[in-house]
Symmetry: C2
């Protein structure tokens, strides 16, 4: 257009790199400025050892929240090979709230279906397809598993972290830590591998995300407890050429020769799609034994010298007969034993009883890989710890109110993971007919674990940050895996229509990962009633007055069929003036129904920064000293 006069604000030119989520407000003094972040004596609020899925998720979240954080990693390469490859539906929801889902979906491969193959009966071919079913058995925003090498997932997170001004110090070896007291009570000893320079930095908190052989865990004096088997497995990432018809579905194959789990994977640089194959290498019918320096492990150690790539491939071919399997290219392979263990503690306290050192991810829990849990549980460890550390460091929560809940919540999940894995892995290792194993048994284990393995059915136990209350407005007969509002679970995603612009939107998208708490008010049908209006008015007025500005946001939903039946004038003025974006209509009718809320009563829920429901209450609790205020005051600094 032919402009003749033009003037712009100076900030306009600064927006080239795209807007970032603003940091959380800080009530504590800013951390001191270091001459260099790896200078001897440098001070950081948090040092994170390990930049795998757990460590990078934590470091990213802390960077987004505005925390000074030093992530160190021994491995120099920008990408780590092999290992974990699957993102579960709940992890995908979180990545979406971080604005990373398109990149993950574009780079990875989304798997929706799983086929079960078993030995054919009399007169049938040796291997027959018993059934095909959805891989994700509970509703979720993305009802699929996303296959992408852990190293590439980590890298996507790391590139976002770079935009927030943080980067990983690679080639850095963690040597040890000491609790030295003072304002930065954790002294962390590090070594630059390239130069050999040894130095130490000081931190308020140290987090070990340094894998199964965690040196941080070892230093903490924490042990892994659990069981082990001597089932011996091989895993191969390969490009295949095959006439097996279901090679692009996840397949659980129990043949008369052995068992295979085949997982379709992402495209690699030569435009070929990979397949991951897990196969059991020997027949060990009575191999379950308790852990220790016992016989089972010693036997296994002897046997595993023999595991070679040709042996694994030969076994794959034999298991999949009569289909033809040609190996075009092997990208990675490994051999492993199934073992399930959990760390006795996930944190270490200083002399004053404050938790100062944490461990996450494989440092806390090891298990078999076939259910695709490792990367997910690890990332969610980091997602759980991130906001709690940030709130503590920024002074947004009462001292030490949140940190103890990390171990409380995540150790319980790790134990559930290990219990599931134990059942699943052993059933998978068996042949059909062995110990009476039938396809139906195996399918049942697969199906009933769907809530847990998808990450969507995870439920934290009651604590200061999860208040479990029964209220009449909730349809408690609903299966909570299907969306029911329940404290300790993630808030289910539902479609809405925002009021201010009448635009279709998704509940998860209007609640991105900003680090804020939200109070979700689901209005009753008769929201014009003065008692309801009074509650709403109280909430809108009290939030900015009682808590640090911006760390708790209201989010209001009405149950009417159309936004046309609603006008701004029906509500307290503050709704339009201060929270114009935070008001939506359940125009499709799905939200109240799925979340299980009675439209005649409404409900109110408190949502934590990690998308987990902290509490679900009757609308009546929106009053001075009500349960909503009580929950928030227990967990947040009041002004």
């Amino acid at each position: 257009m032919p402009v003749f006069t033009e003037e712009s604000s100076p900030e306009m030119l600064q927006r080239a790199a795209g807007l970032k989520t603003p940091p959380l407000p800080r009530l504590t003094p800013c951390p001191p400025v270091n001459t260099a972040r790896t200078a001897d004596g440098a001070k950081h609020e948090v040092v994170v050892v390990g930049a795998g899925p757990a460590g990078i998720m934590l470091s990213l979240m802390l960077s987004r929240y505005g925390i000074s954080c030093l992530p160190v990693e021994l491995v120099t390469a920008m990408i780590i090979p092999g290992q974990a490859d699957g993102l579960q539906p709940r992890t995908l929801e979180v990545l979406r709230q971080l604005g990373l889902s398109e990149e993950v979906f574009t780079q990875g491969y989304a798997n929706y279906r799983v086929a079960f193959w078993n030995p054919g009966g009399p007169g049938e071919p040796p291997l027959v397809r018993t059934c095909v079913t959805d891989d994700v058995t509970v509703p979720a925003r993305y009802p699929c598993k996303l296959l992408l090498a852990a190293g590439r997932v980590v890298n996507i997170l790391e590139r976002q972290m770079n935009k927030y001004g943080n980067s990983v110090e690679r080639g850095t070896d963690f040597l040890k830590f000491e609790l030295v007291g003072g304002e930065f009570p954790v002294k962390v000893f590090l070594r630059d591998v390239a130069t050999g320079r040894e130095y130490s930095v000081f931190a308020k908190y140290l987090v070990g995300a340094d894998g199964a052989h965690s040196k941080v865990r070892e230093q903490m004096g924490v042990k892994l407890e659990g069981e082990s088997t001597d089932y011996l497995w091989g895993v191969v990432d390969a490009v295949l050429k095959t006439d097996f018809p279901d090679i692009r579905k996840r397949c659980a194959i129990h043949s008369n020769a052995a068992s295979i789990m085949a997982i379709p994977r992402e495209m690699i640089e030569n435009q070929q799609y990979m397949t991951r194959l897990y196969t059991q290498l020997e027949d060990n019918t009575d191999a379950t034994s308790s852990v220790g320096e016992g016989d089972a492990r010693a036997r296994a150690r002897a046997r595993r010298q023999n595991v070679t790539l040709p042996r694994i491939l030969e076994q794959v071919k034999r298991t999949m007969e009569p289909f033809n399997v040609e190996i075009v290219k092997v990208d990675w392979w490994a051999a492993y034993q199934i073992g399930q263990r959990v760390a006795t503690n996930f944190s270490l306290k200083d002399n004053e009883g404050t938790e100062r050192v944490f461990i996450m991810g494989d440092a806390c829990h090891t298990h078999s890989p076939k259910a695709g849990q490792g990367m997910n549980v690890s990332m969610m460890d980091g997602y759980n710890l991130g906001w709690k550390l940030a709130y503590e460091l920024l002074g947004l929560a009462p001292q030490n109110a949140l940190l103890p809940s990390y171990e409380f919540e995540r150790r319980d999940i790790a134990e559930q993971l290990i219990a599931f894995d134990n059942t699943f892995a052993s059933k998978f290792s068996q042949k059909m007919g062995e110990n009476g194993l039938s396809h139906e048994d195996f399918f049942k284990v697969f199906h009933t674990a769907g809530g847990f393995t998808s990450g969507c059915g995870i439920e934290y136990k009651e604590s200061k940050v999860v208040e479990k209350t029964m209220i009449p407005a909730l349809n408690n007969s609903l299966n909570p895996d299907l969306g029911l509002l329940r404290a300790g679970r993630r808030l289910f995603n539902v479609p809405l229509r925002r009021f201010s612009d009448d635009a279709p939107c998704e509940l998860h998208d209007v609640l991105p990962a900003t680090g804020h708490f939200a109070v979700l008010v689901m209005l009753p049908q008769n929201f014009e009633d003065s008692a309801v209006q009074e509650k709403l008015e109280y909430l809108l007025a009290s939030l900015p007055q009682t808590y640090v500005r911006g760390i708790v946001e209201p989010f209001v939903m009405h149950p009417r069929k159309s936004n046309d039946d609603v006008e701004w004038s029906m509500f307290p003025k503050a709704l339009k003036e201060d929270w114009e974006w935070n008001f939506s209509g359940d125009v499709s009718g799905h939200a109240y129904e799925t979340l299980g809320v009675d439209k005649s009563m409404g409900a109110v829920a408190v949502l934590r920064p990690d998308g987990v429901l902290g509490g679900v209450y009757a609308l009546e609790e929106l009053k001075p000293k009500g349960k909503v205020e009580n929950y928030l005051s227990n967990n947040l600094t009041t002004q």
Copy 2:
């Protein structure tokens, strides 16, 4: 998991930055290596002048395709202020196929609804809402407009181009070009603004995307033709505080004082949402006049000295009375006159009759901004020219087969744009009642132009790359805006279920912007019929034999209700062996219906790299010397 042996391929470590779309195959010699890309005498296949929406889209596409391309831009800043702000549905579809939609949606604001406000009648308030309707009036994958400053859109494209190893040479002034003959016949004279160094580079093609005052166009001796008015307008991007209830919808406001177009915009760095306001500054009932150095422009020039920000804001407030409008912050403002002009030519031939210099974007067409077309038509100019230049340069098309269609296709669109804009802008500039203008008139212009303004109804005329044929299998009674397969239009997006993994997918996603042609085979219900199988077999066998490997891909669709009713064994072996990913089922039943294809007959369509249908044919044409082969051989190099 406890791994005891592990081995990985070396390429594995290279995947950190994420996979890129591979370049197109090259049948021509590689361009010479330059000592430096801006060295005097450096040789580039294409030089692009200007890195606005048109130039950056072209440079990105050429970089993705593997073309040596030098984009130069005078402005040093990474972001340009103000101006265009809206992405239309078709542009959003293209950005999705480039893997950029999440970033655009996360940074921008998606607008779905438009409200019309008019003077109240007797006994009504002075300003009343006449109706609210969908902003996008035709079906589209993203039925919204995405508001985001052009500078930020450009930057998102540029960052992807950087991943493909190309970058913009900023602070570079285009001086002139000369046609000098030889292998690199365009000599381009440039100047580094910072150092004053003048130098020249050689190119096979030069593209001017250097805006309304294009120096490339001037050098070509090409004129702009068209009409101008002396309607005087102001435009402001501001953060507002207002009790106007529809401020977060797009609003066409005709009050008794003046007209305003209000457009809700994206969030800026202080977490506030902007609104763009266009307002007419004077009442000019008889201002239409033909262009030239005539009286109308001279009068306007005199008047426009008086345009100031306070005057615009004062007018905004007066127009929106009785609502209160408070200006919190002005981000950008400008004043302009509406004029509609199109360049007489979009390209210049050398002595041998080959087009060597092209212009795109504002260099070709100027018009008023209110319908949000500028950035979109400009980007689509680049998207249209990109693959044609690449095919010519790489030897993938017969010499000069494709390039003439750029001007043929895009000049027609520019003329349609100008005609629409003329009607729309003048109706918008009028008051209700003036010249008999009624809300119904205005609404009708808005509504019927929806196909064009969304970009989804764009239709190219018949040419060598667009073959228009009527076939009985197509339901030609359908409105093509609703999805009907029609040569010259973009292929409509429909949901499918891929066969190999039974995963839900979208037609547009299985056809990303790789630069390939596709042959879309929509099988009839009785696809097991040998006549059908024969056609399919011929296609699958002939494509890799006849054309350069990989530049034409088949994409096959079956019309059955479930993938369970289909087996690989029903099809030629090549379908699974070579094109496992390119076979889907219309499981929802939407695809055949929406695309207008009779399930009993099926159809076949050729899709160009820009997502435009090149031809739609009866299945019978899948035969030696059939129309499909004929179309492809006309436009592609055969082996």
